[in-house]
Amino acid sequence: MSIEYLGLDSINGPLVVLEGVQDAAYDEIVEFSVQRTEQKLGRIIEVYEDKAIIQVFEDTTNMSLENTHTKLTGHSMELPLAPEMLGRTFDGIGRPIDGLGELNYISKRDINGDPLNPVRREFPRNFIQTGLSAIDALTTLIRGQKLPIFSGNGLPHDKLAAQIVRQANLGKENNEDFGIVFAAMGVKHDVADFFRRTFEESGVIDHVTMFLNLADDPVVERLITPKVALTAAEFLAYDLGKHILVILTDMTSYCEALREVSSSKQEIPSRKGYPGYLYSDLASMYERAGIVDGKPGSVTQIPILTMPNDDITHPIPDLTGYITEGQIVLDRTLAGKSVYPPINILPSLSRLMKGGIGEKYTREDHQAVADQLFASYSKVNDARSLASVIGEDELSDTDKRYLSFGEKMENTFIGQEIDENRTIIETLDLAWDMLHILPREELNRIDTKLLDKYFDEDR
């Protein structure tokens, strides 16, 4: 049915221009055949009458103005979907690479997805216990939330994400179906292997769908990877009723790919060369987390991004933080002190926490304890800098107590073993141990009733 066009009119990085096409649609997928041997895919990103500007997903190497046949597919990018996706591995644009053959799909869906109607969303309220005190007590993960990890190169974000996957109570206990969708964008081979090993060792590999675009895979393909992964996640969650945890790593590589394509399109850059639509683009992915009212499944997202130069004001973490429902921030100083996980609790935040904790979900004192830990820990730095000026001995008794509170917080509360799985009650009791280091009158965030119940003056 479709016409094949021979030749191209220009090639510039990942972009090619084809003139004289008929009936080309915006956002349509095209197939290239280079010298009749190599197959490539591309997407129409601009169209003017009979001229189409096409972004090629793979490398444009070998393509010449003469040797390429182009065919319009008549539809936008679609992903074949089947329940058997769990346990399978795909490349960055959704083609199987595990040698188990093509997927016997039951439906195909546009990878761009449609926005979820706010009136049909259900506000997420279910607490997910990760077994990590810093997260459970202070930046609680909620089912259906999007909670990114802001990290830096060389920090243990992969270990942390893997520990969350191993320990997170995604639905095993009450026998609900769960699954993990793992999307790698531009990560190293050993990182992908690390995650695969972790999934295998914890016996969940049959529940994992992997989409891999590794560091040496084509850059433009990376722009598709999170979208196919989320399309799969939505299918598994809303059509099959599973609780899906999506891990997207590394969002920084994705954004860099976006910048590369944008600059080859000669678009006007905004901050640090990133295109002006970076916010909308990121939002179109992050917003695909959630729960649909009246449906059993959920999509929870943990995107991982490495902050360039550990700078939280860099556009990538900055825009991400404006879209996601909080963030878990890793810190190099803590990592230097051998604290694992090196979570800097002060800039970390979970916006959905308030709805998923308290008497009904965790314990009555959870919110107050969390507020108090934040407030007290924020004073530790003041005490530390004062100590470095006038010396520790000169500090007032209260300031000394703050110093020791800070040490204890970092070493025994935030810090824990890589296989240590604390229940929320253990975590909250431990938090009270921390607060007992301070004099009672310093605990002004906790109301008197709770203090009377949990604070023992004589300890």
Partner: protein
């Protein structure tokens, strides 16, 4: 609707029509086979540029573009309140009925319910002279709000026909008016109005009444007037949205228009769930009965995001024309500015600062200038207050959106990352923030709250400033070396910060506080300071004073004194006196 052109090029939400066309500037058009809604944004001899309010993928050159002959407009009439719309006023509940949990493009829905019959009480009679703005009928739109249908602006004449009181839908004529040129127009419950044009009023005047929000740091320190403008800038996680929610819930405006512009879907769901359950203390009904939500979440089309701000403002002006006090929460105006930037980039316009178009400042100005306390043509007074959140890149207030916003708002509530980190909420930085309304509102506070209010406020602000400069010293050398009177300033500063400025949105008493309690709290803190000062002048050291629990007690007033038991403050005064005599007796 007739076809005036065919698509020539498509670039994201921007569509081009080739050649010289008959389209008008800002005209609403239908684009392509699916008839997606668009707006003409530029015209020249070679091509017409259209921005499309929906996703354009799959659209092809050669598809038709239809003209409607009128600018992009909203429908104004009963049914706006207790409802949620997208950026161009399409009802999201209706869209959900048609297309399920996802919003598919091209959904063909009526902006307001045309089927529903409203009980109508007609307010005009045959022979009466009417002008634009004259109230022709009253409709109980929700349990809380009486909707007043008006003659649209620009119509003037004599009533020649009215219907009986009864049940009518918004498409049935209620009144027929013979205009000055003898032509007859039918006036219905609903009317259309272009979103980019402010609705006319007779005159604008200075407001001297505050918009009371129940938030101490706002009402007492940095108040906003009814008809005023305020900006809430803050990096992510500093509590912009939370603050907007609190004001939307507890402010004494009659009507709230909440615009979720490029923000999270879950936040809109939360507002919808919360506001439906929460009871408006003024009316006893649910808060949604006085609220309308405009939701263009961050994953919805960007052109509609640009429009959502205007849509919300137009709805607000319509209720203002009825004589109501309306407050707009715009969360976040930065997303709107970024939508402008994105569209400008696609149009290949010359960028100014950080890629934003050069007209950014003038667009921000026109938006905030639509706020104000007005006298309407029907002699009522109404106001539109605008409270806009700003999300500065990197939390840096020197970026263009924050700076340009600062030029056009009179109230600036700067949120601070360090305060948010220690969970001091609302994280309004008392050193950076300001309100230009303090002087305008002084008389009102004096007459309606207390003659001392303004002076107490000044003293509290002064103590906070002194405390802040003392803290700089303390950070270097510790607090032990300070003289006792300065230690007292630090201690009172702490009491103000913890006991007055910090406000717990999740505490039933503390979430919203009446002005009188705010005043009493300031009074009691200042009284404590006065007594302590006197003790110190009698040579009592601060360490002795701090051994008493009076400071902790005063901090806990916000929780311990219920909002309707203000007589309890007398006891606190006695406690302070007791504390004074105790120390004096023991140590004299």
């Amino acid at each position: 609707m007739k076809q005036l052109g065919t698509i020539y090029g498509i670039n994201g939400p921007i569509v081009y029509v080739k050649g010289r066309t008959l389209f008008q500037m800002s005209e609403k058009v239908f684009v392509g086979k699916e008839k997606l809604i668009g707006e003409v944004i530029s015209l020249d001899n070679d091509r017409t540029t259209i921005q499309v309010y929906e996703e354009t993928s799959g659209m092809k050159p050669g598809e038709p573009v239809y003209s409607t002959g009128s600018p992009v407009s909203v429908m104004l009439g009963p049914g706006i309140l207790n409802n949620i719309f997208d950026g161009i006023e399409r009802p999201l509940k209706k869209i959900a009925e048609i297309s399920g949990e996802y919003i598919h493009r091209g959904a063909d829905v009526k902006l307001l319910d045309t089927e529903k019959k409203w009980p109508v009480h007609v307010m005009v009679e045959v022979g009466q002279e009417v002008i634009g703005g004259t109230i022709i009928a009253e409709v109980p739109e929700t349990k809380t709000i009486l909707h007043k249908s008006m003659i649209p602006p620009n119509i003037e004449g004599r009533v020649v026909e009215v219907v009986e009181d009864g049940e009518y839908n918004i498409t049935e004529p209620i009144v027929k008016v013979k205009q000055l040129d003898e032509s007859i127009v039918e006036i219905k419950l609903a009317q259309e109005w272009p979103i980019r044009n402010p609705r006319p009023t007779r005159s604008r005047f200075e407001s001297s009444i505050p918009l009371v929000t129940g938030q101490r740091v706002v009402d007492s320190l940095f108040p906003i007037a009814k008809g005023g403008t305020a900006a809430i800038p803050g990096g992510f996680g500093t509590g912009k949205t939370m603050m907007q929610h609190q004001i939307a819930k507890y402010s004494d405006a009659d009507i709230i228009i909440y615009i979720g512009c490029g923000e999270r879907g879950n936040e809109m769901t939360e507002v919808l769930e919360d506001f439906s359950e929460l009871i408006d203390p003024k009316s006893g009904n649910s808060l949604m009965e006085r609220t309308s939500l405009i939701a263009n979440t961050s994953n919805m089309p960007v052109a509609a995001r640009e429009a959502s701000i205007y849509t919300g403002t137009t709805l607000a002006e319509y209720y203002r024309d009825m004589g109501y006090d309306v407050a707009i929460m715009a969360d976040s105006t930065s997303r709107w500015a970024e939508a402008l930037r994105e569209l400008s980039g696609r149009l290949e316009e010359m960028p100014a600062e950080e890629g934003f178009p050069a007209y950014l400042a003038s667009r921000i100005a026109t938006f905030y200038e639509r706020a104000g306390l007005m006298q309407n043509f029907n002699d009522t007074e109404g106001s539109v207050s605008i409270i806009g959140a700003v999300s500065p890149q990197g939390g840096d207030f020197s970026e263009p959106v924050t700076q340009n916003t600062k030029r056009f708002v009179r109230c600036f509530w700067g949120l601070d990352k360090a305060l948010a980190h220690e969970r001091h909420y609302p994280a309004v930085n008392w050193l950076d923030s300001y309100s230009e309304y303090v002087g305008d509102l002084a008389a009102w506070y004096r007459d309606n709250v207390s003659p001392d209010f303004v002076d107490n406020r000044r003293q509290i602000v002064e103590i906070l400033h002194q405390e802040s400069s003392l803290m700089d010293v303390v950070k270097l050398i510790g607090s032990d070396v300070l003289p006792d009177d300065q230690k007292l300033t630090i201690e009172i500063g702490r009491v103000i910060r913890l006991g007055f400025l910090q406000q717990n949105a999740f505490h039933p008493e503390d979430t919203s506080v009446p002005l009188l309690k705010q005043e009493k709290m300031m009074e009691i803190i200042l009284y404590l300071r006065k007594r302590c000062k006197s003790l110190i002048s009698h040579g009592m050291p601060m360490s002795l004073l701090k051994r008493e629990d009076i400071f902790t007690k005063i901090i806990a007033i916000k929780y311990d004194v219920p909002n309707d038991k203000l007589e309890m403050f007398d006891q606190y005064k006695k406690d302070i006196d007791k504390f004074y005599t105790k120390i004096m007796d023991k140590n004299a």
